[in-house]
Every structure is written in structure tokens, then in C-alpha cells.
Amino acid sequence: MTGRREELAAGWIEVVSRTLATRVSRAELDRELHELYSAIVEALGSGGLDTGAEAWTEVRALLVELSRNRARQGFSPAETAVSVFALKAGLERQLDQGSPGDVAAYLTLSRLTDALGMFTVDSYTTTREQIISSQAEELLELSTPVVKLWDGVIGVPLVGTLDSARTQVVMEKLLQALVDTGSAKAIIDITGVPAVDTEVAQHLLKTVVAARLMGAECIVSGIRPQIAQTIVALGIEFGDIVTKATLADALRHALRGLSDADSVRGRGASQA
């Protein structure tokens, strides 16, 4: 492999670049694969075919980097793995002119390539999973904005299906926003929520109670008729929580509460 270095590497790069077409620049591929090639030769040189061994650390690091880049750039697992498996194609070509000794060497290298290929697919999958979970998190963040509606009044317009995890994120964000903005009123608007189950309703209730413990009042607005029916049918007790049909009604209620807070004491707002 050392002897026919340039020849082998060139054949390899050719196969890879044919598959990846124009999506990765030739120069970048050249650099990437030459680096990898040298690392493999070096690892082979320091003995051992166990790709998990210490001698292969450098190769593994390069493969992780390669599969990470491919995953981020949106390549498929096959397109990623080809970078490694194509090494075989280059070797096969050499095989035609080779001796029986070469055949044995080819088989050994072939097994090695398989191991490295599997490793690449593994790292590719790990990266993809990381990307998916971080995107899910970002989506959760994006889908739960807390906005300031008025001095001392914040609002959380909820849109889409509420599951337990998302409701919990909303709850924490809302309560933190109360502290950060010093707002004593919060409106949770669920106009855009198609359905509410027991668990989600319980989470909403807990949010309201937690806000009260902190000294703030939560108003739930935009409860659609079907949702009101569900809440009653499920037997969920909304107790003395203030609910309003529309966001406008809720805002009016909150503003009235704000001006009252200065003159009337003992309002429900801070009475837990």
C-alpha cells in the first residue's frame, strides 16, 4: 500500500468523487482522503489490524470528522460510507496484476476496510441523531415564545399540539419570564391548540398554581368550545383560575387587575 501510494490514492479519490459528483470539491476530497490514506498506512505500519487499538486513534478521529461533515452537509449514509469502501475498488484494480500474496493482503485489507466502514456509518448515525435531537429542542424553543403584551403583562400564545414535554417547557419559560420582566400578570392563550388531554390540562393548572406561589396571576384565554367540553368531560377542576374567551378579554382583565393592584388589597393575584 505504501509502494503504490499515489496510484492507489488516486484511484480511490476518483471512485469517491464520481459518487459524490459535484457536491464536494475535488480539492477538499483530495486533502481529506490523502490525510486518511496516510493515517491508515501509518496505522498499518505500527502493526495490528485491530481498528479499535491505540494505533488507529488517528484514523478513527479522521473518520469521525469525515462522517460528521457528511452528515451535516446532508449526505446519505451510503454516500458517506463510499468514501471508505471505495478504497477496496482501488485495491481490486491492483489485484489483477498481483501475486497470490497480494490476494491474501487484499482480503486482509478488505476486512479492515469493512471494519472502518462500519465505524464510519456508526459515527454518521450518531451525528445525525445529535442533529435531530438538537433540532427538536430548537423547535420546542421556537414554538413557545413569551411576549410582553403590556407593562407588567406577558403572554404565551400556544400554537399546535401540546404534549407533556412541550407544556413543561412552556411552564418553565413562562415562570422565568415573570421573574425576568417583573410582570405580575401572564396570559396563556390556547386559541391555536386543537386539543387538550388530561395531562396537558394538569400541566396548565400546575403552571397557574406555581405562578400564584410566586406572586403572579395567570389567565387562560382562547379556550375553544370543544376544549371546554373536553375539560368538563374529563372532570378537570379549573377551580378559581380566571379563564377568558379571547386574548382581548384576558388583556382587559389583566390591565384592570394591574390598576387595581395599587388601590385594592387582597385580590386573588397573590393569595395562594
Binding site: 418553565e172 417583573g182 406555581a210 410566586m214 406572586g215 395599587d262 397573590s270
Partner: protein, 125 residues
């Protein structure tokens, strides 16, 4: 190793900040000390600042409710201020509602509630 928390006096109000990880005896001492100070200074308001408290368990929660009840008997209003969101969520899960305890987001709002209270008292007199 129980200690006594310093109680500050601001006009007609008493202020105590819970800033350390309290053991149960310190909590009970605070209850006694506050009752004593309310009477000694004829305080009209008590503010318990729990901004720095990382947790409020059922023991401390019960102390807050007891202090509020005792103060009310001694004609003083108690406001608990600065509860952290994580603490509030935990208290709800724990099943503690702090019945009868008034709360405010921060010290400023707590003082405003006590001022309203004092104004209402003056209007009645």
C-alpha cells in the same frame, strides 16, 4: 450548629432574608424570633425574602404558613417574596399550596403590598 438569622427593621416592617441552607432548628428559631420582634417593634408588616433559597421543602413551607398566621394574630401582614420558578414548580408537585401566605415576585412588589395594606389600615382608622 443552628444559627439565628438577622431580622432587619425598615420603618414599620421587618425583613428577613433566607440565604443559607437552613437546618430545621434555625427555621424554628426564626419563627420564635419573628414573633418576638413583631411584638417588640409593633411591626405592621413582615417580608420574608426567599430569592436565595434553592429549595423550600414541607418543613420550611409550614414555617412560612405558621409565621403568616402568627403575624396576622399580632396584627402584621406577611409577604413572601422572590420565590424561584424551580422552587414554585417543586412546591406544586409536592402538594404544598402555602395557604394564607401572600407572595410577591420581588422585594419591591412586596413592599408595595405592605404599603397598600398600611394605607387601607389608615383609611379604616
Amino acid at each position: 450548629m443552628s444559627e439565628r438569622l438577622p431580622i432587619l427593621r425598615i420603618g414599620e416592617n421587618l425583613l428577613v432574608s433566607i440565604q443559607i441552607d437552613l437546618d430545621d432548628q434555625t427555621v424554628l428559631n426564626l419563627q420564635d424570633d419573628l414573633a418576638e420582634q413583631v411584638v417588640k417593634h409593633s411591626a405592621r408588616g413582615v417580608i420574608i425574602d426567599i430569592t436565595a433559597a434553592e429549595i423550600v421543602d414541607s418543613f420550611v413551607g409550614r414555617m412560612l404558613a405558621t409565621i403568616a398566621s402568627i403575624s396576622r394574630l399580632l396584627d402584621a401582614e406577611t409577604v413572601v417574596v422572590g420565590m424561584r420558578p424551580a422552587v414554585a414548580i417543586t412546591l406544586v408537585e409536592l402538594g404544598l399550596s402555602l395557604g394564607g401566605v401572600r407572595t410577591a415576585l420581588n422585594l419591591e412588589r412586596g413592599l408595595a403590598i405592605l404599603a397598600e395594606h398600611a394605607a387601607a389600615r389608615a383609611a379604616q382608622a
